[in-house]
Structures are given as C-alpha cells and as structure tokens.
C-alpha cells in the first residue's frame, strides 16, 4: 500500500469512529452572510485567538511565578530580568489581555447595534455577557498577581465594593479576600481563581456559546431580504476561514510588535501597611466604573453614596444581561432607541474614562523597566519581528489568492455538488 492510501485508510478509520465528517460537512454548509455588517463577524473568532494566546503564555508564566507574599513580586521581577525572554512573554500576556477585553467589548457592541440577540438568539447573548464577566474577572485577578503598590490598591478597592451591597455584600468581600483584610491568603486565592477557576468557567460558557452559534446559524441584519442574502452568502469552510485567517495573522503581528516595544513595568513589592500611592488608577477597562465611584457623593439622602452607585451598576449589569428579554420585538423591527442607548453607553464610558485620566499619576521612582538583556538579544528580536511581518505579508498574499480561487469555485457551483 502506498502512503497516500495509508493516509486515506487511517482517515477513514478515524472518521468511522469519531464522525469527523459530520463536523466538516456541517462547516462546509454553514452559510456566512455577506453584507456591510460582515466585519463584525470577525470579532468573535478574534477573541478566541487572544484567549488561546492567554492560555499559552499564562501556562508559561505559571512555570516561574510564585504566588506568595514574599515571592510574588520577586518572581515576576525574575521573569522580567532573569528568565530568557521572560519580559516578552509577560508583555504578550498583559497586552493580549487588553486586546481580548477590547474585542469582547466590540463584539458585544456589534451584536447590540445589529440586534442579533433577538429571538432565537437570546441565550447566545446571555452566554456572551457571561464571557465578558469572566474575561473582566481574569483581568481583575491577574492584575493583583504582580503584587506591587498599584495592584494592591486596585484589589483593595475592587474587593471592598461588594461590601456596599446590603445584607450579602460583606460575605462577598470575605469570599474574595479570604478574610476581612487583604493578605497572603488573598494572593493565593486570586491565583487559584486566575489559573483554574476562571479558565473552567470561561470554557463552560464558551462551549454553550459556540454550540448555540452553530445550532442557530448566523443572524441576518434587520430587514434583510432573505433570498438575496442566501444567494450572496459564502460557506464558512473554506471561503470564510481564509478571510478570517488574514485578520488573525495581522492582529498576531500587531500584538507581538506592541509587546516588544511597550512591555509593562513592575513596581516595588506592595506593603500592606503603606498608604495608597497617589493618582492610582485601575486598568483601562475599569476606569469608567472607577470614576463613577469617585464622583458619587458620600451620602444620598440617608444612604451611603457607594451603596447607591454599586446598586445602580448592578442594575445596569442585570439590564445588560437581560437585554434580549427587554427588547423582544420581532427580528424585523429596527429598534432605534436601543441603538441610541448603546451609543450613549459608549459615550458615557469613554467620557468617564477620559475624565479619570485627568488626575496625573505619579510615576514610581524605582521600578523594573524591562528591556533586551544585551545587543545580541535585541538584534535577534528585530530579526524575529522582521520574520513575523514578512510571514504575515506573504501569507496574506497567498490567502488572498486562495480567497479568489475558492470564491470562483463557489460561483461556478463546484461546492454545491456535495450539497445535500
């Protein structure tokens, strides 16, 4: 038997047992609508790419990171100065977190303005909001791990927020902190959340999300002519995947480049007894909440200001989660008010974030600023970046050829021969 035959026989053997063809057939027939809203559809898989990068770089960081009071800050310092290329791995993890969160926001925003969450896709939206929550929780728990003054202050405030919720809030704070106050137990707990609890939660929500997307198919824009859309649609495999792959490649290139040139620094180890440093701010994705808490007055009537603020924020989150049940109009209605609401929300978040940036933060005096260790390493990095961008360019060119080819094949009905 020749090699080709052997491969084919192995494939047939596997397919018999795993039913691979059911999946590939499904993907070949899954139609992706093609209209001016199609760009939004690249955001979902892009989130997945960044999550994959987080898992890989996160596991690598965990090889050297030590989650204890004495060692946490020191071990990250070592990752940045002693572990070969450790500073780049940390930088990629930190930047990819930013990208992932930004794109989750954009992803949900797109679905909001397109009203894709309407019947029957309500639960797809809800699982998406859960994914947002878990992603933000990843960012929040990860931020403490370097254990410097900034991360301690952010965690103090963040874990104290539940306490403002009447009745059950104090339990929430104690659950997060592992006690009344932040301590080494908080650090262990956050590490456990970050590297085991949250990955499991996120994967579970992701499984539901992806299952629903496959089961329900892609939504069409409000008021679309279904027949015309069906004629224009392209199959997910291979026509759409080639298009997505270009986006993945470009973003991966951008990520690595930014990570090399703008690595995160590290402040001195946090002191549990020291006053909070001046001009502290949380990560950018919490700025608007941070500023909201800051401008709320100490007392509103009889109630503490932050209780009101936190309850309002919780209410907003609940409304956000239940959006598909509130806006349960038939899929054909435009829903202008809902669109305006999304717009207002974005304006609010951006304005509050910019406002909060008006307080200057004091740059810390002696912090570790990562850099290549020697000339050899920095030369190698430039060669590496050059190689990455050359590959991105070449692959993009080849992928465009493949797109043209598969589109032509689709047009002449080559793929429809195996249409059921």
């Amino acid at each position: 038997m020749n090699i080709k035959g052997a491969v084919r026989a192995t494939w047939a053997w596997l397919d018999d047992r795993l039913g691979v063809r059911t999946v590939t057939d499904f993907l070949k027939h899954k139609p992706i609508p093609r209209n001016r809203h199609t760009p939004w559809m690249y955001t979902g898989s892009l989130v997945l790419v960044f999550f994959g990068i987080q898992v890989l770089t996160g596991i690598m960081l965990a090889f050297y990171y030590r989650p204890t009071l004495e060692e946490a800050n020191k071990s990250i310092g070592e990752i940045m100065t002693k572990v070969p290329l450790g500073w780049i791995i940390r930088s990629v993890h930190s930047w990819s977190a930013t990208f992932m969160i930004a794109i989750v926001f954009i992803h949900l925003l797109g679905i909001w303005v397109l009203k894709s969450y309407r019947k029957p896709r309500e639960m797809t939206w809800m699982s998406g909001v859960l994914l947002l929550v878990f992603t933000l929780a990843f960012g929040f728990t990860g931020y403490l791990l370097p254990w410097d003054a900034l991360s301690l202050a952010a965690t103090k405030v963040g874990t104290d927020i539940p306490r403002s919720i009447p009745l059950i809030g104090a339990w929430g704070t104690r659950f997060l902190r592992g006690g009344e106050d932040i301590s080494g137990d908080t650090l262990s707990r956050f590490f456990s959340f970050h590297v085991s609890v949250l990955p499991l939660c996120l994967l579970a929500a992701l499984a539901l999300h992806v299952y629903l997307i496959q089961k329900l198919g892609m939504s069409l824009p409000v008021g679309a002519d279904e027949e015309a859309e069906a004629r224009r649609a392209i199959p997910f495999w291979p026509n759409f995947v080639y298009r997505e792959a270009i986006v993945w490649l470009v973003f991966a290139g951008v990520l690595v480049t930014i990570a090399v040139f703008l690595p995160p620094t590290l402040g001195k180890a946090a002191d549990l007894m020291a006053p909070a440093p001046e001009g502290i701010k949380p990560e950018w994705y919490f700025l608007f909440l941070f500023q909201t808490l800051k401008v709320f007055p100490a007392k509103i009537l009889f109630i503490t200001g932050d209780t009101v603020a936190v309850l309002l924020i919780l209410l907003a989150a609940a409304l956000f989660f239940f959006l598909p049940l509130l806006d349960n109009k038939p899929a054909g209605r435009k829903g202008k008010i809902i669109t305006i609401l999304a717009f207002l929300l974005v304006v609010y978040a951006v304005a509050m974030s910019i406002w909060s940036l008006q307080t200057p933060s004091k740059p810390e005096a002696d912090k570790i600023v990562p850099a290549p260790q020697n000339i050899k390493e920095s030369t190698a990095i430039y060669v590496f970046l050059g190689g990455i961008w050359l590959s991105v360019a070449v692959l993009t060119y080849l992928l465009r050829l493949k797109i043209k080819e598969t589109d032509r094949l689709l047009h002449v009905g080559y793929f429809s021969s195996d249409r059921r």
């Binding site: 103090k156 932040i182 007894m273 909070a276 001009g279 307080t359």
Partner: protein
Amino acid sequence: MRLKHSLFTRRQFLNGLLGGWLGVLAGLFLYPVLKFIFPPEREPEQVLLPLADYGSLEAGAIKNFAWGRKPGMLKKTAGGELIAFVSVCTHLDCNVAYLPDKKKFFCACHEGWYDENGVNIGGPPPKPLRRLAVTTEGENLVIKPEGAA
C-alpha cells in the same frame, strides 16, 4: 399506585424522598466547604505599644502602628491627648496617608479627605475614620476597639 386517602402516589413519595435526601446530602457537603472558604474574623483584642517609643510624640505628630493586618495611627492632639485611628478609608478600604502640612488625612484612591480628628470632610468617604481607645498601663499604651472596656 395510590392508597385510598393518600395525597400522593407511591412514586411521587419515593421521588420526593430521594430528591430531598440528595438535597440534605448536598447541604452536608456544602457546609464544610463554606466553612473552609470563609475563614473566621481576626481583629486584635488589643495592641500594646511601648511608652518608650510612642509616649514622646510631639503635639500634632503621628506615629504608625499595626492594628492586626490593618495600619493604625497614633496622634497627639494639640491639647496633648493621645488618640488612635485605624488609618483605613471608610469609602472603599484604601490605606490613608496623613499630610502634616495640611493637617489632614488623605486617601489617594478616590481623593477622600479627613480633618485632623479623622472626620470626613471631602470626597466620597461616608464616615469618619474609625477611632480606637487609648489607655496607659504601666510601660505600655494599650490600644483597644472603642467601647471595649
């Protein structure tokens, strides 16, 4: 099957018993798990500060000490009395700083202000800083929660 005056069938009874018992079992497992997750509170009953180190404060000056896991501040008022605070912001728990030139406590997290007696005067803090009781016993200052004799 249902007996003549019974409210439910044998199957409902059995299912109810099974489900209920499973619930009890789940509760039995949950209890130790919750116990484990929420450790008991640990606030010090008192903290002793040697008079030799802390007694000689000048009027208006501040000295830090550890109130369990929280920072505390001992202050001598203009009148010469010793008072103590838990120097943790009543807004969202950040550690506050004392600014001697302004004679105020400042919280950097959301720009909260307290006057020199720890009373909240600006920004989001809803309450004054928590006061602690200071007494002298032999060679030591004794810091206790207010109200504890």
